[in-house]
Each structure stands twice: as C-alpha cells, then as structure tokens.
C-alpha cells in the first residue's frame, strides 16, 4: 500500500498569501508608532527643558511641579484602576514609602539622584508585590477594604518608626539632585544660576513624561494587553493562557513603583516629609485626579493632577470672593477654605462620574470628533451646492 504523501511543490504552488502578523505585532509594539509621536516626544522634552528656565513666578512653579509630581502617583492609580479595573485606596501608603525611602537613601546615606529615585520606585513596587497574594483572594469592595487597611497600617508604622520618619515632627529631605553633568538643585546654564524650584520642575517634568511613555508602552505589550483584557473579561483572558497572578502582579508592581517615584519627588519638592501628609484623603485625591483627567488614557491622570492639585491654592487665594466661605476667625454659617477643597473634590467626583465618566481627555476627544463632523458636513454641503 502506498501511503507516502507527495511533497507539495512550494515553488509552483505557493500557499495563499496571509497577512504578515509578525510584522503587524512588531509594528504595534514599537516604542513609537509614527513620526508624529516621535515629534511629540521631542517637543515635550524641549518644553520640559525650556519652561522651567523661563518661569520665575513661584506660584506657577509650584503648581506645575505639583501637577507633575502628583501626576506620577495618579498614573499609578490609573494603571491599577483605569487599565486593570482593580479598585485601590492604598496609593497614599506606597507614596509615603517612596518618600521615606528617598529621604533615607538620598539624604541620610547620600546616594546619588538616579539611585535614590530607583530605590523609591523599587521599594514601592516591592510593597505592591507583597499585596498581590492578599489581593488575589478578594474582589470589588473587599479589595478596597484591604487597600484601605494599608493606609492605616502605614500610618501606624511610619508614626512610630521615628528613626526613619521623625514621627509626628517629620523629617527634612535634602537629597542630592545632581546627575553629574547637571545639578537640578543648583542649575548653572550659560553662566546663569537657576533656583532649586526651577530645577525640581525640570526634573519632575522629564520624569513624568518618561512615566507616561513607559506606561503607554507597557500597556501595548503582551502583559499590558492581558491587563486591560482581564479588566473586561477575566475568565476569557485566563482561558487564553495569561496567568491572572502574573497580570495582577504586574499591575500592582507598576502602580506601586509609580507611587514610590511620586513620593520621592514629593519629598524633593517640599524638602520635608511628614507622616500625616499621607492619609486616606491623599488616596482619594489620586482617584479624583484620574477621574477628572480621564481613566485609562495616557495623559489624563497628569492633566487631572495639574487641575486638582491647584485647587486648594486657588481656593485659599480667592476665598474672600466665593460665597459661603468664611475665614477661620469669622463666626456663623460658612465653610472654611481648607474644608472647601474637600467639598470640591467630592463634587468633582460626583459630577465627572455621572456626566463625564471618560474625564477631560474623553471630553476633548468627543469635542474634536464633533468639530470634525461639523466641518465635514459643511464641506459636503458646500460641495453639493457648488
């Protein structure tokens, strides 16, 4: 019996041409996908270098720096909640850990800039990894309770670990901001000396840009796609072979590392760290930033951070012009300026979640889509008339 199969003649009978999937995947995973994104990155770097040098107003410097610094933490919560769909109130815990690690390594041990930044990110990420085995066992509201517990546990540990944190008096943070060829804390460019605030702004703008780029690219990678997909259909992703433990681990580690970076830069900005900055309120603030800017978008959290971190400052500056606001010394009905920002956070959350769940970035997208439609329609109307 002849069972041999005749070899297929590949030359005269080629298989049907398939789309080149490998090439498409490589295209999708590239660091930058088009010339436009390369130009945008370049433009951002130029802006990050020029704006701090041109800006001298200390109010604006502190606003932009806060936006960039808190933006890193908001990016972290965006990975966890926006992309991965896990809810967390624990961001303040990771931020405080990053801040104290930065003080310990950068100030007390005198490590150079890249090392203490890295240390803060690594410790933040490691703490995030520690939470994963517990978080794997909980969903939804119960996961939130767990992460809320982190804030309370962190408060106890950091209040009582006085050699690290200075307890209730806090600890000064004088880290070295020198990168060898440039010292952000004492910038001299072209013979001109720039202030510490300008240097910190430049550094934090560069860092937050880098973070956005990294988050964007990780989310386009295999792991990133598994993270986003398990938000929308955990079981389906598991069936397709992505380990739920691994995706959750990647999410928490990334989120924790970003929060750690945020804490380190916060310490550098304020040059002082106190345990009571890192409370539940801060965790909620990060979530407000993400929601206002736009969850699961690249720049949304940073834009949200810019707006939300500026709020208390505006409110205290213009307190006398806002109705129902009283000075602490006044009597009678009225809300104190410090309390008003809390009310505004609450209202922002409510308004955005009900009316604009996709945040400002989503709003901008739908506005530009609307404008595009109107323009196209008027063009086609003009064409049909002419």
């Amino acid at each position: 019996m002849d069972t041999t199969v005749a070899p297929v003649d590949m030359v005269s009978n080629p298989p049907a041409k398939k789309p080149d999937h490998d090439r498409m995947i490589r295209q999708e995973m590239r660091l930058t996908r088009s010339w436009w994104s390369r130009i945008a990155i370049l433009a951002y770097v130029v802006a990050a270098l020029v704006i701090p040098l041109e800006l001298t107003d200390s109010l604006w410097l502190s606003l932009l720096t806060s936006g960039a610094v808190y933006g890193m933490g908001a990016l972290g919560i965006n990975v966890l909640n926006g992309y991965a769909g896990h809810a967390s109130l624990g961001q303040a815990f990771f931020v405080s850990a990053g801040a104290f690690v930065a003080v310990q390594t950068g100030d007390k041990w005198g490590w150079p800039l890249p090392l203490w930044l890295l240390a803060a990110a690594v410790v933040g990420g490691a703490l995030g990894a520690l939470v994963v085995p517990l978080a794997m066992r909980l969903r939804g509201i119960y996961e939130i309770i767990l992460t809320l517990g982190l804030v309370y546990i962190g408060t106890y540990i950091f209040t009582n670990w006085t050699s690290l944190t200075g307890g209730s008096t806090g600890v000064p943070a004088q880290m070295k901001l020198s990168l060898g060829f440039i010292d952000f804390g004492h910038m001299i460019i072209g013979g001109e000396l720039y202030t510490y605030e300008q240097g910190v702004l430049m550094l934090s703008m560069l860092l937050v840009g880098l973070c956005v780029l990294i988050v964007c690219n990780v989310m386009r990678s295999r792991t990133g796609r598994a993270i986003v997909a398990s938000r929308d259909g955990a079981l389906a992703v598991e069936i397709l072979g992505a380990s739920p433990t691994r995706t959750k681990l990647a999410t928490y580690v990334m989120s924790g590392a970003l929060a750690g970076l945020c804490g380190a830069m916060l310490a550098a900005q304020l040059q002082y760290v106190n345990e009571d900055q890192f409370n539940l309120q801060l965790s909620v603030q990060f979530i407000v930033m993400m929601i206002v800017g736009g969850a699961a978008t690249a720049w949304g959290p940073v834009i949200g951070a810019l707006i939300v971190s500026a709020l208390p400052l505006y409110i205290t500056t213009y307190a006398s012009d806002i109705p129902f606001v009283k000075q602490p010394t006044d009597s009678g009905f009225g809300i104190m300026p410090g309390q008003l920002s809390l009310v505004v956070y609450g209202l922002l959350l409510a308004v955005f979640l009900v009316l604009q769940p996709s945040g400002l970035v989503g709003l901008a997208k739908s506005v530009s889509a609307l404008v595009g439609r109107v323009v196209r329609r008027s063009r086609s109307a003009a064409a049909s008339e002419g």
Partner: protein, 301 residues
C-alpha cells in the same frame, strides 16, 4: 482579672458599634448589590441632629432620636434615588461599584465640612442619655453606657433577625440577596426591598452614631464618621456574606482593639489599638480567605 473583664466589656461595646455600622453596610449591599459608604454620613449627622433637637430645642431624648431617624431615612432614600441610582445605571459593569463608592466617599468628606459649617468644629456634648454611672459586679465596675450599648445592639439584632427570618419582606430580602433575577421572576419588587433595606440600615447607623456621640471624652465631633472606615475589616473578618457574620466580626474587632490598646506596652507607640484589627484582617486573609463565617462571598461581589 477584673481589669480584663472591664476591658472585655468595653471592647464588646465598641465592637457592637462597629457591628452596627458594618451591618448597615451589609444590609444595603445585599439588597441592592452596591456598596455604599454614605451610611457613614448618617453616623455623622445623627448625633448632631439629636443634639439639635434634644439639647438645643429641649425635646425629650427619645423624640429627638426618632426625629433624627426619620430625617436621616428621608435624606438617605432621597440621595439614593437622586444620585446613586443614576450612577449605578450609567456606569454599569465593573465600574459600577467603584463609581458609587467614590461618589459616596466624596459626599462623605463634603458632609464633614457641612457639619463643621453648621455646628462648628468644637466637640459638643449630649446630655448623658444612657447615664455614666458605674455598675459594680464584685470587683468589676462597668459603665452604664457600655451595658446599654450592648443591650440596644442585642435588641436591634433580635428585631432584624425577626424581620429577616419570620416576615414576608424578610424572605424577599434574602431572596434578592441570593439571586436578584430569580427574585424578580417570583414577583418580588426590588425597589421595595431596597427601600426596606435602606430603612433598616439607617436605623442601625443612626443608633451607632448617637451611641458613638455619647462616648466618654469623645463627644460629638466631625470625625465620628471615621468609624465607617474602621468598621470595614468587620466585613472581611465576618466573611462578607451574612448579616450576623459581620456583627460577630465587628465585636471581634472591638475586643481586639480594646485589649490591644489596654495591654500593649507604651513602647509599641501610639495608635496600636487601631492598627491591630487591620493586621488581624490580613492574617485571617492568609489563613482563611473566606472569612470566619463566610462561604466564598468575598470573591464574588
């Protein structure tokens, strides 16, 4: 030994308060499927309302308490219909519980500011409605307040138990909790069930808030609602599912916290009492992920 018993009793009393708050969360969670922390706002407003009617207007304590319950109930139902239903409808899917929770937390922080705006930031004192006299049993002396807290909680639990186990609406509530769609097919109106659940939850939260407001030394202050966060581990310890599991979890929390605060050496530092329940929660998660009385409910919600 008598020290231990005193600590134990005040721990149970504190735990009863945690249990009541956790209970008010769980009742709403089970009936509507959505977790709502705005019950903490009820805990906050209730003692201030009782203060306003009892101390400022001079009404009898019980009348003031009833008025506070009615006002809080109306406000809770109104906010639920006007704010949380639309959010839950619009958000849908995995974002639903998160959206509701975040809006509730936002309103909770806002209500702290409102309370301070109306009543000021100084702690207020309610005329001692339960009495602070001591009851002595042998060498153990207990405060009347602790005993009345425990007593009131037990009465309330018995009432809830009767409602859930022996009445038609209770059966309907349990049916909705176990399978909303099947319950609907049987002709149970989910709106009625969630309304009753809100009423029960509000009663529990008002009583918890008023009893917290009479705490020795604490008085009525704008941070009473923090208890709504401190009571949350009770949900995990109790297993999340059952109404009575979470009260038991709350009592356990209270005992742990009081004993830890009472026996910890001063070298353990400040806030050790509040720290222990969270650690206990995490240890329990490692050893028994479904909680003490749970049945895998934690992974579902």
């Amino acid at each position: 030994m008598s020290d231990f018993i005193q600590l134990l009793v005040s721990g149970v009393a504190l735990g009863c308060l945690y249990g009541l708050v956790a209970l008010s969360f769980v009742i709403v969670l089970r009936a509507t499927g959505v977790f709502n922390i705005l019950q903490g706002g009820v805990v906050l407003f209730a003692p201030y309302l009782v203060y306003a009617f009892h101390v400022q207007k001079g009404l009898p304590f019980v009348v003031a308490l009833l008025i506070a319950i009615v006002i809080c109930m109306a406000a809770a139902l109104l906010i639920d219909r006007a704010v949380f239903r639309p959010i839950a409808r619009r958000a849908g899917g995995h974002g639903q519980f998160f959206a509701v929770l975040m809006v509730a937390m936002g309103l909770l922080t806002a209500s702290e500011a409102v309370v301070i705006a109306i009543w000021g930031s100084q702690p207020l004192s309610m005329d001692d409605p339960w009495g602070l006299a001591k009851v002595s049993v042998g060498s153990v002396s207990l405060t009347d307040r602790d005993l009345s807290v425990i007593g009131i909680t037990l009465v309330l639990l018995a009432a809830f138990w009767y409602l859930l186990q022996r009445t038609t609406i209770g059966v309907a509530m349990r049916a909705v909790a176990s399978d909303q769609e099947a319950a609907r097919v049987q002709g149970i109106n989910p709106a009625v069930v969630s309304g009753v659940a809100w009423v029960c939850a509000t009663v529990a939260a008002v009583l918890a808030g008023v009893m917290l407001g009479t705490e020795v030394g604490g008085g009525i202050n704008s941070t009473i609602d923090q208890v709504s966060f401190l009571a949350l581990p009770a949900l995990i310890i109790g297993g999340g599912g059952s109404v009575f599991g979470c009260v038991a979890g709350g009592v356990l929390l209270g005992i742990l916290q009081t004993l830890a605060a009472g026996y910890a050496p001063s070298s353990f530092g400040a806030g050790f009492g509040e720290f222990v329940p969270w650690v206990a929660m995490i240890l329990l998660l490692v050893v028994r992920p479904s909680g003490l009385f749970g049945s895998g409910e934690l992974r579902r919600a």
